[in-house]
């Protein structure tokens, strides 16, 4: 069974890399075009706010993308090259020659759920809300490169940029279009006091039919949706289940049709269920141990390399992930276009690890099984989030592996809030963490030397002047092909320094009802083409 799992994972990986857009209509029996039906989707947390500019978490943003329209849809081809965009509310766009002005033409068929047409006024209003300090949208920085958004006529919008940059369209497309006719009357500075649930006007594929907080969200077909004949589903129900385990239990009990992430340990049970299908695909994330390089014990790259080489990552893949993932190499995922193909994971070699530690002055002189230097034993605390069982398992396995080379690593599980405070304060030795990689390759956020006050996503305080210099150079280049050689060199430097022990590149295991048709499931967004999803009538296979 598990051999099969690996084989299947490999096959799907190849498929995912080889053909960027499998035809969504290719459901067996041609049932994909059927209209109607309900899909029940498991969700870990409730929506924070029905106004996309007031929520702070990503789960809310993902769900609201079904209710509010986007100008364009970012495609799932980010691993081949920087992601491309398909028209959505904007059915076409034209760049000026200098690359500073963009004219978009909106789909004239688009209607809000109350029947009012979606016009350029909505796009302008959205931009005003996005950059308003009273609204205080957390991600307003994405709009720094935009000088103005203006309505040319009812269906034409002109956007003026102040710089040319490879990610201009991505920045413009960030954020959902909101209804000016319904919301413009509410002053920005009172947005935080409004009960938005009662003011939802949908312009995406679905509109809000009901929301019982902490229980369920019911979306129904928005008849004014601009793509003709879509969505196929009548209703999409999101059931809130606050734990991974609960989600799987409900999936197996037949109470859910779609769970985005099944823990590897439950895969066999999902597979054994004839009513369920499992989709295995590369996630945009890698799991690693972030070492605090500011700690004198961990400052030496030889020590960090030794730690990595002491960890049996192959066993870790088998035990924790049931063989589903592959070893990670460096700071760029190996499936991404920017990955340096010359790099390989450091080997598993406890003897070499011991030798490296001895080189760095760490030897077991008192025979207690733990190496020491200047009388101080190499004892580390390994943090992991209390909410995440996979990462806890990793910490427990790593503890065993490191003990064999004379390093004591005691796991400590903290809930996320506490953990992040420890990371921000630099008050940790090592931390089993996961980075979800944006489709925009931006290595500076994590790998540039930390600012003077120390607070950045570079939790481990990694600092390499050569990396800093190359990162600055990359930022100057507007063309992707020019950036690639520099990115390659940065990756090589980071892999040699091992500020992280790169463990595994994650695979996502999505389970859905066998009756679900037309779903294109990928790591771009959780509900990528939900307007095209359909449900085969009961009994049809």
């Amino acid at each position: 069974m598990k051999q099969l799992a690996v084989a299947l994972a490999c096959a799907l990986t190849v498929l995912a890399c080889g053909s960027p857009s499998p035809a969504p209509e290719a459901g067996p029996g041609g049932a994909a075009t059927a209209r109607g039906g309900t899909v029940v989707i498991g969700l870990l947390s409730d929506v924070q706010s029905w106004n996309p500019y007031l929520a702070e978490d990503s789960a809310t943003a993902n769900l609201l993308a079904l209710v509010y329209p986007s100008l364009a849809v970012e495609q799932a081809d980010y691993h081949l090259h920087p992601p491309s965009f398909e028209p959505a509310l904007a059915r076409s766009w034209v760049w000026s020659d200098d690359g500073l002005v963009l004219e978009l033409e909106l789909d004239p068929r688009a209607r809000w759920s109350d029947g009012v047409p979606i016009t350029s006024r909505d796009v302008v209003f959205t931009w005003q809300a996005q950059v308003s300090p009273e609204v205080g949208w957390l991600f307003a920085a994405a709009k720094d490169g935009i000088d103005g958004v203006e309505a040319v006529d009812e269906h034409t919008v002109r956007v003026r940029f102040n710089r040319v940059d490879p990610y201009q369209l991505m920045d413009l497309n960030d954020g959902l279009i909101i209804p000016a006719h319904a919301w413009a009357g509410i002053p920005f500075d009172s947005w935080r006091e409004v009960a938005w649930r009662e003011r939802v006007v949908a312009g995406g594929p679905f509109s809000l039919a009901g929301h019982t907080p902490q229980q369920e969200i019911v979306l129904e077909r928005n008849p004014g949706y601009f793509r003709p004949g879509l969505p196929r589903l009548d209703r999409a129900v999101f059931r809130i289940v606050p734990s991974d385990r609960g989600l799987v239990t409900q999936l197996l009990a037949g109470e859910l049709d779609f769970v985005r992430s099944v823990p590897p340990a439950d895969v066999d049970r999902v597979r054994a269920d004839d009513d369920l299908e499992l989709v295995v695909y590369d996630d945009r994330s890698y799991t690693h141990i972030c070492w605090n390089t500011a700690r004198p014990r961990l400052a030496d790259p030889r020590v960090r390399r030794a730690l990595t080489m002491a960890i049996d990552r192959e066993t870790l893949v088998d035990v924790v992930y049931a063989g589903f993932v592959r070893m990670a190499v460096g700071p760029v995922l190996s499936s991404f276009w920017a990955f340096n193909q010359d790099l390989e994971p450091l080997p598993f070699d406890p003897e070499a690890a011991r030798a490296l530690l001895a080189d760095a002055g760490w030897r077991d002189r008192d025979g207690d099984g733990i190496v020491e230097r200047d009388g101080v034993p190499l004892a580390l605390e390994l943090l992991a989030p209390a909410e995440n069982e996979l990462r806890q398992d990793i910490a427990l396995l790593v503890q065993e592996d490191l003990r064999r080379v004379g390093v004591e690593a005691r796991p400590r599980f903290l809930e996320w809030g506490t953990l992040l405070a420890a990371l921000d304060g630099g008050d940790f030795d090592g931390m089993v963490n996961l980075w979800e990689e944006p489709t925009r390759i931006d290595l500076a956020e994590v790998w540039h030397s930390p600012p003077a006050d120390g607070a950045s996503l570079n939790f481990g305080r990694y600092s390499n002047p050569e990396v800093d210099r190359l990162l600055a150079e990359v930022a100057e280049l507007a063309e992707f092909p020019d950036r690639k050689p520099l990115l390659d060199r940065i990756q090589a430097l980071i892999v040699a320094d091992q500020p992280y022990t790169f463990l595994v590149e994650n695979v996502r295991l999505t389970a859905h009802s066998a009756r679900l048709r037309g779903a294109e499931i990928n790591a771009a967004t959780p509900y990528f083409n939900m307007d095209e999803w359909a449900v085969a009538p009961a009994g049809a296979e």
Binding site: K2, T315, D318, A395, R404, P411, E415
Partner: protein, 313 residues
């Protein structure tokens, strides 16, 4: 002295459990080494072969084959071949209660974990006993104002959401056995304080105490002869039951991730961890769960036995 069957059964079970935890590891040959890749989730009674390598590492698998040049150790995903000259020793090991997700022997873990579970509950109960008795006696004998003050204090402590307090305390201090003992002790004395106070107040009005006082007995003597013997019964019964509650509380805290660090197994954390794989490894949560239940039942029987003896004498 009246014999109580409940007391006898309860004490025997308790003694057996304690003996198993204290002397068990010594009685048993070295427990099988943990091999997460090959010996994970073996059912109870499974026999496996432990292959000891020259670098001190052990591979454990139920499927080991010896060929001319190599020892092939089977695994669920792939087999591992080890050259024969690298194998120092090969021996049969039996997982009496199965193995966990990391290939560790459940029985060995239960013996180690039981020591911690029992000590945590015992020490927590001692703290509760001390704090509860002190506050209860203080309230009953210290006059109106002290009584009102202490009883409102009891109410206030009861009014704290203990669980939530623990979440935050665990964030402040590294969770560990000591913290757990202190927290469990300090959050479970209130019932005892009420009990002691109530007993003393009701004894005060009883005829034999009034008679003793009228006969001019000194307060010390009255305490020795009348209060303490009458308090001892209910207090020890309550403490026996409380011990059981504390074992359960430790389990619940571990389930919520607030207990003892995960690399130290306790019965509670074993149930909590095993709970995740109820279907694939029913034995993981079942055996420590049964141990907890046996302990709680034994303590309850002891408590009942004490009460039985009291009511008969």
């Amino acid at each position: 002295m009246i014999r109580s069957p409940r007391l006898a059964v309860g004490s025997t079970v308790l003694a057996l459990l304690v003996l198993l935890c204290v002397a068990g590891p010594a009685l048993r040959r070295p427990a099988p080494a943990g091999d997460p890749a090959r010996a994970a989730l073996l059912p109870p009674g499974a026999v496996a072969t432990e292959v000891v390598l020259d670098n001190g590492r052990s591979l454990v698998s139920p499927r080991v084959a010896v060929t001319e040049h190599a020892v092939v150790v089977g695994g669920p995903l792939r087999d591992t071949e080890v050259p024969r000259e690298r194998v120092v020793d090969m021996r049969q090991v039996r997982f009496w209660l199965g193995s966990d997700r990391f290939g560790r022997d459940v029985l060995a873990q239960m013996m180690n974990g039981g020591r911690i579970s029992l000590s945590v509950a015992f020490l927590g109960a001692v703290i509760a006993l001390f704090a509860g008795t002190t506050v209860g006696l203080g309230a009953a004998t210290g006059g109106r104002w002290l009584d009102a003050l202490l009883m409102r204090m009891v109410d206030a402590v009861l009014a704290f959401p203990v669980l939530f307090l623990l979440i935050l305390v665990a964030a402040l201090v590294r969770p560990g056995p000591v913290l757990l003992v202190v927290v469990l002790g300090l959050t479970s004395w209130m019932g005892l304080a009420r009990l002691v106070r109530g007993q003393v107040l009701s004894l005060r009005g009883r005829t034999f105490v009034l008679a003793a006082r009228a006969a001019g007995c000194s307060p010390t003597r009255i305490w020795q002869r009348h209060y303490l013997p009458n308090l001892a019964g209910p207090v020890s019964q309550d403490t026996a039951l409380r011990l059981g509650d504390l074992v359960l509380a430790e389990a619940t805290l571990s389930y919520l991730g607030l207990g003892i660090p995960p690399d130290i197994p306790t019965w509670g954390s074993m149930v909590a961890q095993g709970h995740r794989v109820m279907v694939d490894g029913w034995w993981l949560a079942t055996f420590p769960g049964l141990a907890i239940a046996a302990l709680v039942v034994a303590l309850a029987l002891i408590g009942d036995g004490i009460q039985e003896r009291l009511s008969r004498s």
